[in-house]
Symmetry: C2
Subunit: 249 residues, 2 copies
Protein backbone atom coordinates (compact mmCIF):
# COMPACT_ATOMS: atom_id res chain seq x y z
CA UNK A 1 0.00 0.00 0.00
CA UNK A 2 1.37 3.43 -0.95
CA UNK A 3 0.06 6.44 0.95
CA UNK A 4 -0.05 9.81 -0.80
CA UNK A 5 -0.87 13.40 0.05
CA UNK A 6 -1.95 15.70 -2.77
CA UNK A 7 -0.77 19.32 -2.61
CA UNK A 8 -2.96 21.64 -4.67
CA UNK A 9 -6.32 21.03 -6.29
CA UNK A 10 -6.23 22.13 -9.90
CA UNK A 11 -7.08 19.93 -12.91
CA UNK A 12 -4.14 17.55 -12.63
CA UNK A 13 -4.58 17.10 -8.86
CA UNK A 14 -8.31 16.55 -9.30
CA UNK A 15 -7.91 13.82 -11.91
CA UNK A 16 -5.02 12.12 -10.09
CA UNK A 17 -6.97 12.09 -6.83
CA UNK A 18 -10.05 10.58 -8.50
CA UNK A 19 -7.92 7.86 -10.06
CA UNK A 20 -5.92 7.11 -6.88
CA UNK A 21 -9.12 6.78 -4.88
CA UNK A 22 -10.17 3.95 -7.18
CA UNK A 23 -6.76 2.22 -7.15
CA UNK A 24 -6.38 -0.84 -4.90
CA UNK A 25 -2.89 -0.31 -3.62
CA UNK A 26 -3.05 3.46 -3.06
CA UNK A 27 -4.48 5.40 -0.15
CA UNK A 28 -4.96 9.16 -0.51
CA UNK A 29 -4.48 10.34 3.06
CA UNK A 30 -5.07 14.06 2.57
CA UNK A 31 -5.56 16.88 0.09
CA UNK A 32 -4.08 20.30 0.73
CA UNK A 33 -5.18 23.49 -0.98
CA UNK A 34 -4.47 27.15 -0.25
CA UNK A 35 -8.18 27.88 -0.21
CA UNK A 36 -10.50 25.57 1.73
CA UNK A 37 -13.51 26.69 -0.31
CA UNK A 38 -12.38 24.76 -3.34
CA UNK A 39 -11.83 21.63 -1.23
CA UNK A 40 -15.13 21.87 0.60
CA UNK A 41 -16.93 21.51 -2.71
CA UNK A 42 -15.41 18.05 -3.06
CA UNK A 43 -17.83 15.30 -2.35
CA UNK A 44 -15.14 12.76 -1.57
CA UNK A 45 -14.57 11.73 2.04
CA UNK A 46 -10.99 12.64 2.60
CA UNK A 47 -8.93 14.67 5.03
CA UNK A 48 -8.69 18.27 3.77
CA UNK A 49 -6.53 21.15 4.91
CA UNK A 50 -5.32 24.58 3.95
CA UNK A 51 -2.47 24.56 6.48
CA UNK A 52 0.84 23.03 5.50
CA UNK A 53 1.59 22.58 9.23
CA UNK A 54 -1.30 20.12 9.43
CA UNK A 55 -0.01 17.77 6.73
CA UNK A 56 -0.13 14.13 7.83
CA UNK A 57 2.62 11.60 7.14
CA UNK A 58 2.65 9.74 3.82
CA UNK A 59 4.99 7.85 1.48
CA UNK A 60 4.68 10.37 -1.35
CA UNK A 61 3.68 14.03 -1.48
CA UNK A 62 2.50 15.07 -4.93
CA UNK A 63 2.82 18.80 -5.58
CA UNK A 64 0.36 19.62 -8.36
CA UNK A 65 0.35 23.43 -8.41
CA UNK A 66 1.43 26.24 -10.74
CA UNK A 67 5.02 26.00 -11.96
CA UNK A 68 6.14 29.23 -10.33
CA UNK A 69 5.20 28.21 -6.77
CA UNK A 70 6.49 24.63 -6.79
CA UNK A 71 9.95 25.53 -5.54
CA UNK A 72 8.51 27.70 -2.81
CA UNK A 73 6.14 25.08 -1.48
CA UNK A 74 8.84 22.42 -1.55
CA UNK A 75 10.84 24.43 1.00
CA UNK A 76 7.90 24.11 3.41
CA UNK A 77 8.21 20.34 3.17
CA UNK A 78 11.92 19.95 3.91
CA UNK A 79 11.20 18.34 7.28
CA UNK A 80 9.37 15.44 5.58
CA UNK A 81 11.40 12.28 5.07
CA UNK A 82 9.04 11.04 2.37
CA UNK A 83 9.41 11.34 -1.40
CA UNK A 84 8.32 14.76 -2.68
CA UNK A 85 7.40 15.00 -6.36
CA UNK A 86 5.92 17.58 -8.67
CA UNK A 87 3.76 16.97 -11.74
CA UNK A 88 5.06 19.69 -14.05
CA UNK A 89 6.41 19.34 -17.57
CA UNK A 90 8.72 22.29 -17.36
CA UNK A 91 10.16 22.48 -13.82
CA UNK A 92 13.56 20.95 -13.08
CA UNK A 93 13.77 18.26 -10.41
CA UNK A 94 16.38 20.50 -8.72
CA UNK A 95 13.71 23.11 -8.03
CA UNK A 96 12.52 20.82 -5.25
CA UNK A 97 14.48 21.50 -2.05
CA UNK A 98 13.94 18.07 -0.61
CA UNK A 99 16.29 15.16 0.03
CA UNK A 100 13.97 12.64 -1.57
CA UNK A 101 12.63 14.22 -4.70
CA UNK A 102 11.21 13.26 -8.03
CA UNK A 103 8.91 14.11 -10.93
CA UNK A 104 5.59 12.48 -11.70
CA UNK A 105 4.46 14.11 -14.96
CA UNK A 106 1.37 12.76 -16.71
CA UNK A 107 1.66 14.14 -20.23
CA UNK A 108 -1.81 15.17 -21.32
CA UNK A 109 -3.95 18.27 -21.60
CA UNK A 110 -6.43 18.03 -18.72
CA UNK A 111 -9.73 19.83 -18.45
CA UNK A 112 -11.90 19.70 -15.35
CA UNK A 113 -15.09 18.58 -17.08
CA UNK A 114 -13.75 15.70 -19.11
CA UNK A 115 -13.04 12.34 -17.51
CA UNK A 116 -9.51 11.07 -17.95
CA UNK A 117 -8.44 7.56 -18.86
CA UNK A 118 -4.96 7.26 -17.34
CA UNK A 119 -4.41 4.03 -19.26
CA UNK A 120 -3.97 6.25 -22.31
CA UNK A 121 -1.64 8.74 -20.65
CA UNK A 122 2.16 8.42 -20.55
CA UNK A 123 3.74 9.04 -17.15
CA UNK A 124 7.15 10.69 -17.43
CA UNK A 125 9.03 9.76 -14.27
CA UNK A 126 12.25 10.99 -12.71
CA UNK A 127 13.96 10.20 -9.42
CA UNK A 128 17.49 10.31 -8.06
CA UNK A 129 17.72 6.75 -6.87
CA UNK A 130 16.32 3.43 -8.04
CA UNK A 131 14.05 2.85 -5.02
CA UNK A 132 12.30 6.16 -5.53
CA UNK A 133 12.00 5.50 -9.26
CA UNK A 134 10.38 2.13 -8.59
CA UNK A 135 8.00 3.75 -6.10
CA UNK A 136 6.89 6.28 -8.74
CA UNK A 137 6.54 3.53 -11.29
CA UNK A 138 4.31 1.59 -8.88
CA UNK A 139 2.25 4.72 -8.29
CA UNK A 140 1.85 5.32 -12.04
CA UNK A 141 0.98 1.73 -12.93
CA UNK A 142 -1.62 1.60 -10.16
CA UNK A 143 -3.72 4.01 -12.24
CA UNK A 144 -2.15 3.79 -15.71
CA UNK A 145 -0.09 1.68 -18.06
CA UNK A 146 2.76 3.55 -19.71
CA UNK A 147 5.77 4.91 -17.85
CA UNK A 148 8.88 6.52 -19.30
CA UNK A 149 12.17 7.46 -17.65
CA UNK A 150 12.62 11.11 -18.64
CA UNK A 151 15.21 13.34 -16.99
CA UNK A 152 14.75 17.07 -16.40
CA UNK A 153 16.78 18.05 -19.46
CA UNK A 154 14.72 15.78 -21.72
CA UNK A 155 11.49 16.92 -20.09
CA UNK A 156 12.20 20.53 -21.07
CA UNK A 157 12.43 19.45 -24.71
CA UNK A 158 9.41 17.19 -24.41
CA UNK A 159 7.43 20.13 -23.07
CA UNK A 160 8.32 22.43 -25.96
CA UNK A 161 7.60 19.61 -28.44
CA UNK A 162 4.17 19.30 -26.78
CA UNK A 163 3.58 23.01 -27.38
CA UNK A 164 4.14 22.43 -31.11
CA UNK A 165 1.89 19.37 -31.46
CA UNK A 166 -0.83 20.55 -29.08
CA UNK A 167 -1.02 24.35 -28.54
CA UNK A 168 0.20 25.37 -31.99
CA UNK A 169 -1.78 22.67 -33.77
CA UNK A 170 -4.91 23.83 -31.99
CA UNK A 171 -4.19 27.36 -33.12
CA UNK A 172 -4.00 26.14 -36.74
CA UNK A 173 -7.45 24.60 -36.18
CA UNK A 174 -8.60 28.04 -34.97
CA UNK A 175 -7.30 29.65 -38.17
CA UNK A 176 -9.01 26.94 -40.26
CA UNK A 177 -12.22 27.59 -38.37
CA UNK A 178 -11.89 31.37 -38.87
CA UNK A 179 -11.40 30.96 -42.62
CA UNK A 180 -14.46 28.69 -42.80
CA UNK A 181 -16.80 30.85 -40.77
CA UNK A 182 -15.82 34.00 -42.68
CA UNK A 183 -16.94 32.21 -45.84
CA UNK A 184 -20.06 30.49 -44.49
CA UNK A 185 -18.49 27.06 -44.69
CA UNK A 186 -19.36 24.60 -41.89
CA UNK A 187 -16.08 23.79 -40.06
CA UNK A 188 -17.31 20.21 -39.59
CA UNK A 189 -16.36 19.55 -43.23
CA UNK A 190 -12.75 19.61 -42.04
CA UNK A 191 -13.28 17.31 -39.04
CA UNK A 192 -12.59 14.04 -40.88
CA UNK A 193 -9.40 15.50 -42.38
CA UNK A 194 -8.21 16.59 -38.93
CA UNK A 195 -8.97 13.14 -37.55
CA UNK A 196 -7.12 11.41 -40.40
CA UNK A 197 -4.09 13.72 -40.14
CA UNK A 198 -3.68 12.95 -36.44
CA UNK A 199 -4.35 9.22 -36.89
CA UNK A 200 -1.59 8.92 -39.49
CA UNK A 201 1.15 9.32 -36.86
CA UNK A 202 0.24 5.82 -35.63
CA UNK A 203 1.64 4.17 -38.74
CA UNK A 204 3.75 6.79 -40.52
CA UNK A 205 6.49 9.16 -39.39
CA UNK A 206 5.05 12.68 -39.80
CA UNK A 207 7.93 13.47 -42.14
CA UNK A 208 6.77 10.69 -44.48
CA UNK A 209 3.11 11.66 -44.19
CA UNK A 210 3.59 15.23 -45.44
CA UNK A 211 1.50 16.26 -48.44
CA UNK A 212 0.31 19.55 -49.92
CA UNK A 213 1.48 22.42 -52.14
CA UNK A 214 4.56 23.27 -50.03
CA UNK A 215 5.80 19.67 -50.15
CA UNK A 216 5.23 19.59 -53.93
CA UNK A 217 6.70 23.09 -54.34
CA UNK A 218 3.49 23.91 -56.20
CA UNK A 219 4.14 27.64 -56.43
CA UNK A 220 0.99 28.43 -58.37
CA UNK A 221 -1.31 27.02 -55.67
CA UNK A 222 0.78 28.70 -52.96
CA UNK A 223 0.36 32.09 -54.66
CA UNK A 224 -3.37 31.53 -55.05
CA UNK A 225 -3.71 30.63 -51.38
CA UNK A 226 -1.76 33.67 -50.19
CA UNK A 227 -4.21 35.96 -51.96
CA UNK A 228 -7.06 34.59 -49.87
CA UNK A 229 -5.49 35.26 -46.47
CA UNK A 230 -5.32 38.19 -44.08
CA UNK A 231 -1.97 39.60 -42.97
CA UNK A 232 -1.51 37.36 -39.92
CA UNK A 233 -2.62 34.21 -41.75
CA UNK A 234 -0.37 35.08 -44.68
CA UNK A 235 2.68 35.38 -42.43
CA UNK A 236 2.00 31.97 -40.90
CA UNK A 237 1.28 30.38 -44.28
CA UNK A 238 4.54 31.76 -45.73
CA UNK A 239 6.72 30.71 -42.81
CA UNK A 240 5.35 27.17 -42.56
CA UNK A 241 5.54 26.77 -46.33
CA UNK A 242 9.18 27.87 -46.23
CA UNK A 243 9.89 25.43 -43.41
CA UNK A 244 8.23 22.52 -45.22
CA UNK A 245 10.13 23.27 -48.43
CA UNK A 246 13.39 23.35 -46.47
CA UNK A 247 12.62 20.01 -44.83
CA UNK A 248 12.30 18.29 -48.20
CA UNK A 249 14.85 20.10 -50.33
CA UNK B 1 -28.73 3.46 -62.37
CA UNK B 2 -26.08 6.11 -62.96
CA UNK B 3 -23.30 5.32 -65.42
CA UNK B 4 -19.91 6.92 -64.94
CA UNK B 5 -16.59 7.11 -66.76
CA UNK B 6 -13.48 7.85 -64.70
CA UNK B 7 -10.81 10.03 -66.32
CA UNK B 8 -7.39 9.53 -64.74
CA UNK B 9 -6.16 6.92 -62.32
CA UNK B 10 -4.41 8.57 -59.38
CA UNK B 11 -5.32 8.07 -55.72
CA UNK B 12 -8.70 9.79 -55.81
CA UNK B 13 -9.75 8.02 -59.01
CA UNK B 14 -8.60 4.69 -57.63
CA UNK B 15 -10.60 4.98 -54.40
CA UNK B 16 -13.69 6.38 -56.12
CA UNK B 17 -13.64 3.57 -58.68
CA UNK B 18 -13.33 0.91 -55.97
CA UNK B 19 -16.25 2.40 -54.08
CA UNK B 20 -18.45 2.86 -57.17
CA UNK B 21 -17.87 -0.75 -58.20
CA UNK B 22 -19.42 -1.85 -54.90
CA UNK B 23 -22.36 0.58 -55.10
CA UNK B 24 -25.69 -0.85 -56.20
CA UNK B 25 -26.99 2.01 -58.33
CA UNK B 26 -23.72 2.92 -60.09
CA UNK B 27 -22.08 1.35 -63.09
CA UNK B 28 -18.50 2.27 -63.92
CA UNK B 29 -18.45 1.90 -67.69
CA UNK B 30 -14.83 2.79 -68.37
CA UNK B 31 -11.58 4.09 -66.95
CA UNK B 32 -9.33 6.33 -69.01
CA UNK B 33 -5.67 6.99 -68.26
CA UNK B 34 -2.91 8.60 -70.33
CA UNK B 35 -0.73 5.55 -69.80
CA UNK B 36 -2.25 2.09 -70.30
CA UNK B 37 0.46 0.49 -68.16
CA UNK B 38 -1.04 1.83 -64.99
CA UNK B 39 -4.48 0.59 -65.98
CA UNK B 40 -3.30 -2.86 -67.02
CA UNK B 41 -2.13 -3.46 -63.48
CA UNK B 42 -5.72 -3.15 -62.33
CA UNK B 43 -7.32 -6.45 -61.51
CA UNK B 44 -10.84 -5.17 -61.97
CA UNK B 45 -12.83 -6.20 -65.04
CA UNK B 46 -13.63 -2.92 -66.63
CA UNK B 47 -13.23 -1.23 -69.97
CA UNK B 48 -9.89 0.59 -70.08
CA UNK B 49 -8.52 3.07 -72.57
CA UNK B 50 -5.77 5.59 -73.13
CA UNK B 51 -7.54 7.27 -76.05
CA UNK B 52 -10.05 10.01 -75.38
CA UNK B 53 -11.59 9.31 -78.77
CA UNK B 54 -12.60 5.86 -77.50
CA UNK B 55 -14.61 7.11 -74.52
CA UNK B 56 -18.00 5.44 -74.27
CA UNK B 57 -21.22 7.26 -73.38
CA UNK B 58 -22.13 7.76 -69.73
CA UNK B 59 -24.23 9.98 -67.46
CA UNK B 60 -21.25 11.47 -65.65
CA UNK B 61 -17.59 11.86 -66.55
CA UNK B 62 -15.38 12.29 -63.49
CA UNK B 63 -12.09 14.02 -64.21
CA UNK B 64 -9.71 13.05 -61.41
CA UNK B 65 -6.35 14.29 -62.65
CA UNK B 66 -3.78 16.97 -61.70
CA UNK B 67 -5.21 20.46 -61.28
CA UNK B 68 -3.19 21.98 -64.10
CA UNK B 69 -4.50 19.64 -66.81
CA UNK B 70 -8.21 19.59 -65.87
CA UNK B 71 -9.12 22.53 -68.07
CA UNK B 72 -7.23 21.08 -70.99
CA UNK B 73 -8.86 17.67 -70.81
CA UNK B 74 -12.30 19.22 -70.44
CA UNK B 75 -11.94 20.81 -73.88
CA UNK B 76 -11.55 17.31 -75.34
CA UNK B 77 -14.95 16.40 -73.91
CA UNK B 78 -16.99 19.31 -75.28
CA UNK B 79 -18.87 17.04 -77.66
CA UNK B 80 -20.29 15.02 -74.73
CA UNK B 81 -23.77 15.91 -73.62
CA UNK B 82 -23.30 14.32 -70.22
CA UNK B 83 -22.34 15.99 -66.95
CA UNK B 84 -18.60 16.58 -66.70
CA UNK B 85 -17.16 17.08 -63.19
CA UNK B 86 -13.74 17.37 -61.65
CA UNK B 87 -12.69 16.29 -58.14
CA UNK B 88 -10.31 19.10 -57.24
CA UNK B 89 -10.39 21.32 -54.17
CA UNK B 90 -8.78 24.27 -55.88
CA UNK B 91 -10.01 24.42 -59.48
CA UNK B 92 -12.95 26.69 -60.37
CA UNK B 93 -16.01 25.12 -62.00
CA UNK B 94 -15.50 27.59 -64.85
CA UNK B 95 -12.24 25.86 -65.77
CA UNK B 96 -14.41 23.16 -67.29
CA UNK B 97 -15.34 24.06 -70.88
CA UNK B 98 -18.48 21.96 -70.93
CA UNK B 99 -22.15 22.86 -71.04
CA UNK B 100 -23.05 20.53 -68.23
CA UNK B 101 -20.38 20.90 -65.58
CA UNK B 102 -19.88 20.40 -61.89
CA UNK B 103 -17.54 19.62 -59.04
CA UNK B 104 -17.41 16.40 -57.05
CA UNK B 105 -14.77 17.01 -54.38
CA UNK B 106 -14.29 14.42 -51.64
CA UNK B 107 -12.39 16.31 -48.94
CA UNK B 108 -9.81 13.93 -47.52
CA UNK B 109 -6.12 13.15 -47.84
CA UNK B 110 -5.93 9.94 -49.86
CA UNK B 111 -3.06 7.53 -50.01
CA UNK B 112 -2.95 4.55 -52.35
CA UNK B 113 -2.24 1.94 -49.68
CA UNK B 114 -4.88 2.84 -47.16
CA UNK B 115 -8.48 1.83 -47.66
CA UNK B 116 -10.97 4.68 -47.58
CA UNK B 117 -14.32 4.76 -45.79
CA UNK B 118 -16.36 7.21 -47.84
CA UNK B 119 -19.01 7.26 -45.12
CA UNK B 120 -16.54 9.39 -43.16
CA UNK B 121 -15.70 11.72 -46.03
CA UNK B 122 -17.57 14.94 -46.83
CA UNK B 123 -18.45 15.43 -50.49
CA UNK B 124 -18.36 19.08 -51.55
CA UNK B 125 -20.65 19.39 -54.54
CA UNK B 126 -21.26 22.11 -57.07
CA UNK B 127 -23.42 22.28 -60.19
CA UNK B 128 -25.10 24.98 -62.26
CA UNK B 129 -28.61 23.61 -62.17
CA UNK B 130 -30.67 21.67 -59.68
CA UNK B 131 -30.92 18.47 -61.76
CA UNK B 132 -27.18 18.19 -62.05
CA UNK B 133 -26.78 18.94 -58.35
CA UNK B 134 -29.22 16.16 -57.46
CA UNK B 135 -27.38 13.79 -59.77
CA UNK B 136 -24.11 14.52 -57.97
CA UNK B 137 -25.78 14.13 -54.61
CA UNK B 138 -27.11 10.73 -55.68
CA UNK B 139 -23.65 9.75 -56.85
CA UNK B 140 -22.11 10.83 -53.53
CA UNK B 141 -24.69 9.17 -51.30
CA UNK B 142 -24.37 5.93 -53.24
CA UNK B 143 -20.90 5.53 -51.69
CA UNK B 144 -20.96 7.99 -48.75
CA UNK B 145 -23.15 9.92 -46.36
CA UNK B 146 -22.31 13.58 -46.10
CA UNK B 147 -22.77 16.07 -48.92
CA UNK B 148 -22.31 19.84 -48.82
CA UNK B 149 -23.22 22.49 -51.35
CA UNK B 150 -19.98 24.44 -51.77
CA UNK B 151 -19.47 26.92 -54.59
CA UNK B 152 -16.12 27.56 -56.31
CA UNK B 153 -15.38 30.68 -54.27
CA UNK B 154 -16.03 28.86 -50.98
CA UNK B 155 -14.06 25.84 -52.16
CA UNK B 156 -10.94 27.99 -52.61
CA UNK B 157 -11.18 29.03 -48.97
CA UNK B 158 -11.98 25.52 -47.83
CA UNK B 159 -8.87 24.32 -49.61
CA UNK B 160 -6.55 26.80 -47.94
CA UNK B 161 -8.21 26.05 -44.56
CA UNK B 162 -7.43 22.38 -45.22
CA UNK B 163 -3.78 23.27 -45.77
CA UNK B 164 -3.69 24.82 -42.28
CA UNK B 165 -5.37 21.93 -40.45
CA UNK B 166 -3.73 19.14 -42.42
CA UNK B 167 -0.44 20.05 -44.13
CA UNK B 168 0.73 22.61 -41.58
CA UNK B 169 -0.44 20.56 -38.60
CA UNK B 170 1.48 17.59 -39.94
CA UNK B 171 4.57 19.77 -40.23
CA UNK B 172 4.20 20.73 -36.55
CA UNK B 173 4.16 16.99 -35.79
CA UNK B 174 7.39 16.70 -37.78
CA UNK B 175 8.98 19.45 -35.69
CA UNK B 176 7.77 17.75 -32.48
CA UNK B 177 9.24 14.49 -33.72
CA UNK B 178 12.55 16.20 -34.58
CA UNK B 179 12.83 17.75 -31.11
CA UNK B 180 12.13 14.37 -29.53
CA UNK B 181 14.56 12.34 -31.59
CA UNK B 182 17.37 14.89 -31.10
CA UNK B 183 16.92 14.35 -27.36
CA UNK B 184 16.39 10.59 -27.33
CA UNK B 185 12.76 10.89 -26.35
CA UNK B 186 10.33 8.39 -27.90
CA UNK B 187 7.87 10.40 -30.03
CA UNK B 188 5.11 7.97 -29.01
CA UNK B 189 4.93 9.82 -25.66
CA UNK B 190 3.24 12.62 -27.58
CA UNK B 191 0.77 10.39 -29.44
CA UNK B 192 -2.02 10.54 -26.82
CA UNK B 193 -1.71 14.33 -26.64
CA UNK B 194 -1.99 14.60 -30.43
CA UNK B 195 -5.03 12.31 -30.37
CA UNK B 196 -6.70 14.33 -27.60
CA UNK B 197 -5.96 17.69 -29.28
CA UNK B 198 -7.63 16.57 -32.50
CA UNK B 199 -10.55 14.88 -30.68
CA UNK B 200 -11.38 18.10 -28.83
CA UNK B 201 -12.75 19.76 -31.98
CA UNK B 202 -15.72 17.39 -31.73
CA UNK B 203 -17.09 19.13 -28.63
CA UNK B 204 -15.24 22.46 -28.35
CA UNK B 205 -14.53 25.27 -30.77
CA UNK B 206 -10.74 25.31 -31.26
CA UNK B 207 -10.69 28.88 -30.01
CA UNK B 208 -12.17 27.73 -26.71
CA UNK B 209 -9.87 24.71 -26.47
CA UNK B 210 -6.65 26.74 -26.63
CA UNK B 211 -4.20 26.23 -23.76
CA UNK B 212 -0.46 26.76 -23.24
CA UNK B 213 2.07 29.47 -22.43
CA UNK B 214 1.08 31.78 -25.34
CA UNK B 215 -2.59 31.73 -24.31
CA UNK B 216 -1.60 32.45 -20.68
CA UNK B 217 0.99 35.05 -21.82
CA UNK B 218 3.45 33.10 -19.66
CA UNK B 219 6.50 34.99 -20.84
CA UNK B 220 8.96 33.09 -18.62
CA UNK B 221 8.05 29.72 -20.12
CA UNK B 222 8.07 31.21 -23.63
CA UNK B 223 11.63 32.54 -23.10
CA UNK B 224 12.76 29.17 -21.74
CA UNK B 225 11.29 27.37 -24.72
CA UNK B 226 12.90 29.69 -27.25
CA UNK B 227 16.34 28.87 -25.84
CA UNK B 228 15.84 25.20 -26.67
CA UNK B 229 15.04 25.68 -30.35
CA UNK B 230 17.02 26.00 -33.56
CA UNK B 231 16.64 29.04 -35.79
CA UNK B 232 13.81 27.69 -37.94
CA UNK B 233 11.87 26.28 -34.97
CA UNK B 234 12.36 29.55 -33.07
CA UNK B 235 10.87 31.58 -35.93
CA UNK B 236 7.79 29.34 -36.04
CA UNK B 237 7.44 29.31 -32.25
CA UNK B 238 7.62 33.13 -32.11
CA UNK B 239 5.17 33.73 -34.91
CA UNK B 240 2.54 31.27 -33.65
CA UNK B 241 2.95 32.58 -30.09
CA UNK B 242 2.40 36.12 -31.37
CA UNK B 243 -0.67 34.99 -33.29
CA UNK B 244 -2.17 33.16 -30.29
CA UNK B 245 -1.58 36.17 -28.02
CA UNK B 246 -3.27 38.41 -30.56
CA UNK B 247 -6.28 36.09 -30.79
CA UNK B 248 -6.92 36.36 -27.05
CA UNK B 249 -5.90 39.93 -26.29
Amino acid sequence: MISVVIIGYGNVAHHLTSAFLKAKNIVVKQVYNRSLNKLNNLKIKILKTNKLSELVDADVYIIAISDDVISDISTKLVAKKALIVHTSGSVDIKSLHNKQRGVFYPLQSFSKEKEVDFNEIPFCLEAENENNYLLLQQLATSIGKKTYRINSEQRKYLHVAAVFVNNFTNHLYTIGNDICSTNNIPFEILHPLIKETSAKINYLLPKDAQTGPAKRSDQKTIENHLQLLNKQQKEIYSLLTKSIKKTYE
